[in-house]
Symmetry: none
Subunit: 219 residues, 4 copies
DNA sequence: AATGAATGAGCCTTCATTCAT
DNA sequence: GATGAATGAAGGCTCATTCAT
């Protein structure tokens, strides 16, 4: 790995970054296979051989892209939504969902992550599976803990899993709204729309969870 | 390398059908771009040139596949869930969701549709968008009518759209459950799992909708 | 594999043959790695994609080339030198060597084999080793039987192996002569030169073997 | 992908030497074309640009390698085998062959030369031919003088050339033995095996030469 | 209706070399 | 003397498509 320098003359790190960012765009627009090294380099105004130089090969670049997007997103949209860990669970849940939806709806650089998620869930690339699993870990864990708290002590593992998939499923549809069932990934959501969606999901889900908890406790 | 093959003259329609079915499998497993004409023909034990002969080109074949899958699914899993149109709305809603989830969870030939949906929603192929829109029309319409009824006369278009995306999002996660966030599209759900999921979504959603309706009516 | 046809219009077999022959030339001139698919096709006046179509890939084409060369050589230069199997062993030995040397010195198409041999023995391609072993089998066996007979009943396996390597080594130098230690593989040997070389090797070797046998029998 | 490396300033000559030695290994293992500048530098733990700096280009490095190997070999295995120049010719011949075979069979650093020889004789690199010729000169000359003496005053140039190629051919097969016709260049010969081979070649060849001389003198 | 053969564009990667520092 | 970065050419291969039968 090239040593980080501050020289302005020829800075490998800068090129690498440019390449990585171009790759984020192209991979998230077209998916692993459809994305071509050629286009990535064209966008980064770099020589195709630099991919191999800086990242090894296309697959490793893809991995770097995932890592980059997830980590960047985690900084801007922290898992706990930036809320006091001692706040009531509903508050923490709302903060979490809010953040998650805003992340998915992000129109800027972070929008890549949303697309990567959808793409991967549709046609998983075998070589990246574990990496993604690992990257998602903190998020998954946080959500499950919240759900456990909300569903109460009698909830089984399966209850939680069902609930989790339901929540994730709703968030994944961010940008779908508007009557179209295929999410329109290109036009961004306005802040208002985003907020409306987040509110909706929170209310909707909390209601669902409460109903579920009743059933659980009556079992 | 040309494969030696026992040349059996089949009648045209049969070959076309075989090709179409092979294409359903391959497209739904790999997506439009990753699927190769070569593999489709290999599975159908047919000559590559026949694709162009029968369907024009790869894209048109893809369209035919969508049409085939949607229509076939509609026959087995009717939009209204096979329930009396005069039944109470909750019953009709449950029937609809039940059918939709069972369709998504179908382990047989119909499983193609689920995958096509996911794939297409992740990276929409520009040339097929309208076709899909049109194919989904009856389903969308039916669901929206149900939601309208459930949400009451004060619900706006946007309320309905939000609700719709929420419902669809949950159903799309069929097969995800099991703690994994990337739906495992290969292992089928058991009938029990399917039922549990459908029940969960119905209860969950109905609770969410009821809460929503309250808010709407108080506006 | 394409079915053999007799039509003159478009005959895959003919093209395949042209490709194979061009490959024989290029591979034997440059070795596996240095030879490029591009050049082979240029010589065969064929499209580069046809290599993959007819043979699979470069490595398989290389294998086909070996097979082709060995088999073709075996026809023209039979292992037993075309001599009565009941002839005295010296006669059979001379016939064998004669044929072998003439084969190595062959200026025509068969010259490929000589070069392939040298090339492979210098930098063996891992994927072809067994194939070559198998192809050489009949030759090796024949030579060893002759040597066994010549060295008498007391010769050990190792004696025979030593002798074999000595014989092969000499034949491999065909075309070297002329004071140059690196065999000049391009300029062919005249029939006279070839004959002189073969005679030399036979006399030389027979003398060596007789001396060896004496030592063996005295052990 | 750039490798992180602890930058140690070495003095130029040392680096050049390290590069040369790494190049000996790689070239002799893979041949000129298959050897990559990259691997050589990786082994020498040096920067690829240094090749061009110290040697000009790949071809010149290859030349340097040949020179290095030949000269080094000559020191350890002197042409005359370290024997009194007044000793009987058979003794000097035996010493020469002995040394030559031991050189070819050398398992250590000198083994490079053997491989370079085989490689180059199989696919001669046009730009190096003369250099090699020149480097081999002393050896060739010595052997020819010995053969001349052994074959007697009536031997023609061609007789000697034939004999020479025969001798060289046998020695080149060092490591072949063991029933395999493609010399196994990786596993080294034990001292015993080496001695057995050298003895065999000497006895075998002397017998052959004697027979040849008879024929020559009877012409 | 069906086939084998052929095509050309494009993709990913490797590699020797150069250049500025 | 040594380095990291960059370059461009070339190579092997895949693939959708077309063509003549």
């Amino acid at each position: 790995m090239p040593t980080s320098r501050t020289t302005t003359r020829r800075d490998g790190e800068a090129t690498k970054q440019k390449l990585l960012e171009a790759a984020c765009c192209v991979f998230s627009e077209k998916g692993f296979r459809d994305a071509t090294v050629g286009e990535i380099c064209r966008r980064a105004e770099a020589n195709p051989a630099l991919i191999s130089y800086h990242f090894g090969d296309k697959a490793s670049l893809y991995e770097a892209v995932w890592r980059h997007c997830v980590l960047q997103a985690r900084q801007v949209y922290p898992v706990d939504g930036g809320v006091d860990p001692d706040a009531p669970v509903e508050v923490r849940f709302r903060a979490h969902i809010d953040t998650f939806v805003r992340c998915m709806a992000d129109a800027g650089e972070l929008s890549h992550l949303h697309r990567l998620n959808l793409l991967e869930s549709a046609s998983p690339n075998p070589f990246i599976g574990e990496v993604i699993q690992e990257l998602r870990q903190p998020h998954t864990e946080h959500l499950c803990l919240l759900l456990k708290e909300l569903l109460g002590p009698n909830a089984t593992e399966q209850d939680i899993a069902l609930c989790e998939s339901t929540v994730i499923g709703q968030c994944r549809m961010a940008r779908a709204g508007r009557g179209r069932r295929t999410p329109d990934l290109t036009t961004p959501l306005s802040p208002d729309e985003t907020q409306a969606l987040a509110d909706h999901i929170v209310e909707f889900t909390l209601a669902g969870i409460r109903a579920m908890r009743q059933r659980i406790d009556q079992r």
